[in-house]
Symmetry: C2
Subunit: 411 residues, 2 copies
């Protein structure tokens, strides 16, 4: 079974908004055994929307649209869908009651534009949008269906999980493929060398098994995929082979973000972590506490962007900074040991580097990053050269910091 997503909104096509919805939706669809065949982003423009609908219905069983459902003039999706499916808007008492309830503490929102939100296409099935005013609409077109939902990410997510996916599941209970993805993560080998290492493996893979290479921030994710052609057992065999062949470079045998792996290892061991960050500026801290449950192992951080903070809060001697520079093994080691002591944690990570665009020198060019890990067994530090662009350097530094932490917790 195949689906397409049509995202509707000028903001995506002028670069004002990044489409994070589609990736989330793709993952969920795959869990339900539905393959996402294409994603199309179009303007809030009748012709473009209708063309996209026609093309999508020519290819797939399920069309999902996001966006264009607000009460303002620029949003035209509901009216275009009415025209496309040959129906018209009628008042829905239940949507009206829901909106009154939603805004019971905010009577200023119950104005005449909000009132347009309880007009719904007569032939559509209306599902409840628990957290917003735009109704979720499902249209049937012979054996195909279209579901329309808001583009606001958290409204879309609740709509998909609570209403649209269960609805699709009930309606389209035909045979679905079992889509299986298995991912592992490696580091320390160039992509082309990895492909040569895996050449015999790839040549011996059965029909229907796909291997993809996804390099990012110094890590290569290797993904095996099957769209209904291999069994769980066959996938387990091929994945085990892949693990065996890449063992020297393996960081993880799941697709989990590295900070989740660090968090799980620490929770299992009832241990804690803190960070002292200069160039990463809180990015590493944000990663470590991004996921629910992080308060069990993440205590806190001292972000010492300015040297005064390194000296007065982390106690890095001014003479040490003067002698070696802030981007040095000596300074980053003191930062790590100091934050571990001040925050009283089992582990700590410290970063100091030149994120650019200015501040580089011949000896220490932009992209130079020192990272130190303080553990119950002692402190170690490494120097990295992580590229030329500010965001790339700090993202890669976080990945290096997490890889180093995983290795050191494993011991």
């Amino acid at each position: 079974m195949r689906a397409e997503i049509i995202t509707i909104g000028d903001e995506l096509l002028i670069g004002q908004v990044v489409d994070t919805n589609s990736a989330w939706m793709a993952e969920r669809l795959n869990e339900y055994g539905i393959e996402l065949y294409q994603i199309t982003s179009v303007h809030d423009e009748r012709t473009a929307i209708i063309k996209a609908l026609d093309e999508a219905f020519g290819r797939v069983d399920i069309v999902l649209t996001t966006g264009g459902l607000g009460p303002t003039k620029d949003d035209i999706t509901k009216q275009v869908l009415c025209d496309y499916f040959g129906t018209h808007l009628i008042e829905s008492a239940s949507v009206r009651a829901h909106i009154y309830d939603l805004y019971k503490d905010r009577p200023d929102v119950l104005n005449r534009l909000t009132a347009t939100q309880w007009l719904v296409p007569e032939t559509a099935t209306i599902l409840e949008n628990r957290v917003g005013s735009a109704p979720l609409m499902v249209f049937n077109k012979e054996s195909q269906l279209l579901a329309s939902m808001p583009g606001v990410p958290y409204e879309m997510k609740i709509a998909m999980d609570e209403q649209i996916l269960p609805y699709i599941s009930r309606q389209l209970s035909a045979i679905r493929n079992q889509i299986i993805h298995r991912t592992l993560q490696v580091t320390g080998i160039p992509e082309s060398s990895l492909a040569i290492l895996l050449e015999d493996y790839e040549n011996s893979m059965p029909q229907g098994l796909h291997l993809a290479y996804l390099p990012k921030d110094g890590i290569i994710r290797l993904r095996l995929s099957s769209y209904g052609e291999l069994t769980e057992e066959e996938m387990t065999y091929w994945f085990a082979e892949l693990k065996r062949l890449t063992a020297d470079y393996l960081i993880a045998d799941t697709d989990e973000p590295l900070e989740v792996i660090v968090g799980r290892m620490l929770k299992e061991r009832h241990q804690t972590i803190s960070t002292a960050e200069s160039c990463t500026g809180g990015k590493l801290a944000s990663l470590l506490n991004k996921h629910a449950g992080s308060s069990a192992f993440y205590y806190g951080s001292i972000i010492s962007y300015d040297n005064s903070v390194k000296e007065h809060v982390l106690g890095v001697p001014a003479a040490l900074i003067k002698a070696h520079g802030v981007v040095s093994e000596e300074v980053v080691r003191v930062m790590a040991e100091s934050v571990r002591k001040i925050l009283n944690t089992n582990y700590s990570i410290a970063t100091s580097g030149i994120a650019g665009p200015t501040g580089g020198s011949e000896e220490k060019p932009v992209g130079t990053v020192w990272i130190a890990w303080a553990t119950p067994e002692g402190t170690t530090a490494e120097c990295f050269h992580l590229g030329k662009l500010r965001e790339q350097i700090t993202d890669r530094a976080c990945m290096k910091a997490l890889i180093g932490m995983i290795e050191r917790i494993r011991g």
Copy 2:
């Protein structure tokens, strides 16, 4: 002049990767007066790629593809483009020399798979990819053109800025529309009420002028757009009117991120800022030092996720936490004043809230966030209720913190 982007890669359609490239490319195209008409994401699959190419060439002048250019088996874009344009691969001495130079310090990369990277389509114009091994390819199809580049974001960005956009500019020097976008940001008014406030304005707008509402994290961005129909002067007039009508809710009359506005205000005043974060966990710090030049005003942060850090580093009395709870006006005020003093900055912001999914109570449900701002004039605090989802709560808390800071710096 119109363009379309075709992103090629299974990783986008199974949700493993979020497409951040398209938004960036859209913005750049607009600056060059090129309208992005559609974005399409397809699998690494011959039929899907060819169908997308055909459809795109039926609609626009310029087709840009990203992805599928790696040396590994899953990447098929180069071969599919050869077939589509009826040409074949030949060896390029200049690409070969470039790749040898690129990997001169890493001979392990110069293996036989990397060698496939200097095979290029005979009829394509090859542009140099300064930072990677995949050549940039441009194909001409009568008056239309296609440019193919890697999907790795930093390679794509350098390719677009240094090679592809200048090339397009030279080749397609036909009359281009002047695309103008003007954006302002408001807060504290529901979207529907704002639309009612602007109803007469919208009804009087001339043909070719578009107004869009973009609500996110408690801020509504209002964008005026013209695709070649209005002059700069006309846009300036309509934008000034929009500013006048929304003056009571206006935060900014540009599309700049709020942290950039805070940074500029502080730099102009030679003032500095620090943060003490609990629920936002370093996200606010990361925003404040995200952009180049932030070391001029951002000193550092104390991320006090665990209560021990609030007590021992920020000096919040245990009795105060016991009496009022960590999510309270009393605690957040001490956090802000303390970090301002310890880090010796002019301003500081402190956050403490319940990001969930657990930890809420009847009195303080998930989403409750206290924010305090310490300034040379004194300390103030506010309580917010920011939704139910962890990421939404912390993102919105950062926006509230920045809005409050802008207001207080303005005085």
